[in-house]
Symmetry: C2
Subunit: 220 residues, 2 copies
Amino acid sequence: MHPVDHHRGAGRPATALLNRKRITDAAMRLIRSKGPDGLTMAGLASALGVSAAALYNHADSKNMILRWVEDRLMQMIDVSAFGEIDWRSATIVWARNYWRVMRDNNQFVEAIAKTPIGGAPQTIAMYEAVAAGLLAGGWPLERIVPAIIAIESFIYGSAFDAQAPESLLDPGELSADAPVFSRAVGHYRSADYNVAAEHTFEDGLAALLTGLALSAGVRG
Amino acid sequence: MHPVDHHRGAGRPATALLNRKRITDAAMRLIRSKGPDGLTMAGLASALGVSAAALYNHADSKNMILRWVEDRLMQMIDVSAFGEIDWRSATIVWARNYWRVMRDNNQFVEAIAKTPIGGAPQTIAMYEAVAAGLLAGGWPLERIVPAIIAIESFIYGSAFDAQAPESLLDPGELSADAPVFSRAVGHYRSADYNVAAEHTFEDGLAALLTGLALSAGVRG
DNA sequence: TTGCTAAATTAACGCCGTTTATTTTAGGCG
DNA sequence: CGCCTAAAATAAACGGCGTTAATTTAGCAA
């Protein structure tokens, strides 16, 4: 009986079409399928069967939606190790989880990295858990934030590169100007990245923690 | 005698107004003064006293211009130590230079990070120098790329640590849900980090190199 | 001299995030 | 029950962005 079925005129519908969950879900689906730049307000709206302006009844901006996505990701990172084991082991467990989430969701990371930082609830909750764990482990307050920043940046850098090898370099182009490096890239490519990348990450993380603890005067 | 002085009509001028150097210089000046998002084709053109379309006679895209900027940065990183001293000392000198360039030019790094990666010539040249240095130092080929990745991730991580993200968080909002973290942020804001950050970097780098060399079976 | 190419202008295009105005509905209150 | 306000949608537009097309002018080679 409904005339053309699809075309809804102006005006509030009987039951709401949008909410935060639906928007976040659709945004993540879009990023997954179309890549980091695949999320546009128009595209998101059409995926939700809605006009773009309707989104602004629920989110102040695209950045806010990206923060919802960020929050979903952060929720996946397990911080339960803090408070159960010593700070160094707990930090390693946390960082490893963090890194895996980033590695497995690199499209999201790229999308989020382009937006100004905002403290979404789950993100802050994670920071709080880490900060409390470090404090309990004997870290001085003023060294906690720099340490977290350094670890986080290292995680992002490693996660990014863990997925980068394909885009790394076109061996044909550079073999003339960079013979050694192009051979090294060739060897790296033929190995098993997932294993190699995880090794690289673990080694680097251990080294970073040692350095940070040293300069903070903490032992562990 | 020139009528209004400023207004040049259409047509090729007697002497060219643009070249790669001028464009890159102006782009870097713009990013420095207006931040990572301050570089627009229109703004760049007007800074050069030229129409936006004129830029496309010299660069295929904005991304290409950003790669020129990246190349300038990479050019600033001194790799001459490789081949002069042992691999470990040379790597430390190189990484320290790299880190300082990143720390002192953070706007550029942010701007570049938002663009798809492209292997700019100087970037590749730097990798080649490092790879050759490590190979000469006894590193096995297949361990070179992972080592560079780990070191680079560490450099980026430490460089981000060094510069204070002033926008980090609004302490008022989060003190309820994140008491420890908000106190840590407060302490972080009020300290002197340039010195501490450099210490963190040097200590961490030394530890990282030891860890990498160990797992690669190299001595140094 | 003629023609080709390079380097500039002017004008436009399409996409993006966002805003404003309008319409319709739901829900609370007398 | 009727009214009013707030909420949730549409429609239409805006300004800014990167980029392209068409045109104009200058230098240079045959």
